[in-house]
Subunit: 195 residues, 2 copies
Amino acid sequence: MARVGLTAERLTLAGAELADEVGFDQVTVSALARRFDVKVASLYSHVRNSQDLKTRIALLALAELADRAAEALAGRAGKDALAALANVYRDYAREHPGRYAAAQLRLDPQTAAASAGVRHARMTRALLRGYDLTEPDQTHAVRLLGSVFHGYVSLELGGGFSHSAPDTEETWARILDALDTLLRNWPAAPTDPRG
Amino acid sequence: MARVGLTAERLTLAGAELADEVGFDQVTVSALARRFDVKVASLYSHVRNSQDLKTRIALLALAELADRAAEALAGRAGKDALAALANVYRDYAREHPGRYAAAQLRLDPQTAAASAGVRHARMTRALLRGYDLTEPDQTHAVRLLGSVFHGYVSLELGGGFSHSAPDTEETWARILDALDTLLRNWPAAPTDPRG
DNA sequence: CAGTTTGCCTAATAGCTTTAGGCAGATGCA
DNA sequence: TGCATCTGCCTAAAGCTATTAGGCAAACTG
């Protein structure tokens, strides 16, 4: 009967920690109740259901990631900014694999629109101001960067690059070099053969 | 009591279909039993457990994907091969989202080593023969391509690119152009400043 | 300090996973 | 063809998670 002081925020934070420890898909209402030494049903006063809990963790992760990105980008431009942003994602995923997995949770359009996800897109766009791209190439480049960052980080985290030399640090550095080179020499759209 | 003729193979295939219909994480021993109109316990004669079932689906997906890739690469080189391989991944993910998700399942090292996953790495490497790269740049490039393909496909599938112009077809085409350009002008390793 | 709110509880239902043990249809051999 | 064995699917049962309904007592409110 002792009141533990549960709130949606505390549950979300504890859920994020749990995710980092055991994996996002192992985050369960039951496990969280155990962690607070409280009965399972008690959580349902603070969180609508399991899906709601996971969504909150995802939103937390997206916001944390956006905060880090904003800080990293401040005062940087060009390749410096590119590497800083890329490393934010990679470092966050390594420090907080569960939260990073949570950030990939598919959100319904409304929630997604209100999430920090939009800040990410805006920051990537801001980063590209250091390169000479105009629409629609800028959007293509935003999507390319998102793909590379997310793809690399999730493959590396998933062990996709293990068991083989050279090490991933080296690869990561060379990929950032390559992206910088590419953005500085972005190929023009091929002329439409129908024209 | 009528024997339905369950086998691990039939269960795996049905599981893959189920994954494509309702999502890989919704693939459950129970759901599969329902699909065969059979009691749940019956499946345990053919499949060790839920994890085993999912692993089999993952291996099926990896093998199908490798088969498609091999076929697509046959007789092609350079950018033609690059686009063909890239489209194999993208098309497969769109046709079989559940299977594609299954292919990302983290396998234990032994299983991974025996899986078709190694064929994928080899094919990407083969593709790079059309470009002028030597080790270790080739490995870096293999990893870059893997990152872009996987990252783009999973973001697109997850709806990460929705709600915004221009359409993803155009972006995809431009990204392939960009990768081709990049591979043909792969930046040399920067000289070590300590040297 | 009485009244109300609210936080955590018990109880109950329902689904998924996994194991143990049983019966009958399929298979093999004389 | 008949008998023995094997194998496939079954019933039963225990344990975990999710979720809802309703209760009691601690904590605010005036």
